[in-house]
């Protein structure tokens, strides 16, 4: 396990020097702030943009603070998840393709340390970035729309973090198993498209990792069904562990695919 810290140091340096450590959290922060702001000022913005026929009346529903936080999450679910999947799909595959991985693989490293060093960096950037973004969103929501129940908020945040761990595991596994191009596609399909499918057909089942963002919202609103939620969390955590272990397995198996 001692190799882990050296590998992590390398991952950290890489993500500092390619600015991922900065720009990905900033994207989450940006959407976290802009969501409550635009929702609050939308009527005024539309009015000032003008060109509306005289006498047009906009009906804006009264938005609750919980709805604003959920609308932040739905931004993360689209743009945020695209950033995570496409931004990290090459985290292992690209090293193999360029040949830089060869000089790591000839050393007595453990492939689980190797994968875990990448996992920890992704967790730090993605989950760290989302926490910062949602806290900022909470602050703005609090000013503009009012307070939310703090216990419910932490339940909501924790549930969403479990979902993010699942996303990270999918991306890491894909990158270990496939080339960067295929890993991007697989990640986008299993993170973004699977959500749509789950939303369309998902009335038939209640236990699914892809339902976690929805459950997070329900927790925030204070009305949720405990049993399917707990099962979904369990399934998600187990799936994540399996995917991470699978990433280690495939990272080792694909050593021979590294360019020599």
């Amino acid at each position: 396990m001692s190799n882990f810290s050296f590998l992590f140091q390398k991952e950290w340096r890489e993500n500092v020097r390619n600015f991922k450590i900065l720009w990905i959290p900033l994207v989450f922060l940006l959407f976290g702030i802009s969501e409550p702001l635009t929702n609050y000022y939308l009527p005024q913005i539309l009015a000032s943009v003008g060109n509306m026929p005289e006498g047009t009346v906009f009906q804006f529903p009264e938005l609750s603070p919980e709805q604003i936080l959920m609308s932040t999450i739905s931004q993360y679910q689209l743009i945020g998840m695209l950033v995570v999947t496409l931004g990290f799909a090459g985290i292992i595959a690209r090293e193999r393709k360029s040949g830089t991985a060869t000089l790591l693989y000839v050393r007595p490293i453990s492939y689980f340390s190797y994968v875990n060093s990448k996992l920890l960096v992704m967790i730090t950037i993605v989950i760290g970035g989302v926490i910062v973004g949602i806290l900022a969103s909470l602050y703005y929501t609090n000013i503009l729309f009012g307070a939310v129940d703090i216990g419910a908020f932490f339940g909501f945040l924790g549930t969403y973090i479990a979902w993010l761990l699942f996303v990270i595991s999918i991306v890491l596994f894909s990158s270990a198993a496939f080339t960067t191009g295929i890993a991007s596609t697989v990640s986008v399909v299993f993170v973004l498209f699977a959500q749509i499918i789950d939303a369309l057909l998902g009335t038939y089942w209640t236990i699914s990792p892809w339902k976690l963002p929805m459950y997070a919202g329900q927790i925030l609103n204070g009305n949720f069904d405990m049993t399917p939620f707990v099962w979904s969390i369990m399934i998600t955590l187990i799936a994540s562990i399996v995917l991470i272990a699978g990433a280690g397995y495939f990272a080792k198996r694909n050593v021979s695919k590294a360019k020599i």
Partner: protein, 65 residues
Amino acid sequence: MDFESIPWLLILPIIIIQLILIVVAIIDLIRVRSTNGPKWLWAVIIILGNMIGPIIYFIVGRRNE
């Protein structure tokens, strides 16, 4: 909406974050050896692409390794 009524204190962070993203993307653009497509085009996208410009650059434009 007139100028005074704009809540500058609330909007300022957004402007700052956007500026940081643009500056970081431009610094990166200058430092990397090659991009997917011409560099000048990416400079235009980063500066004029609003919120999304720097993000698109980092995901699509940047050629890693």
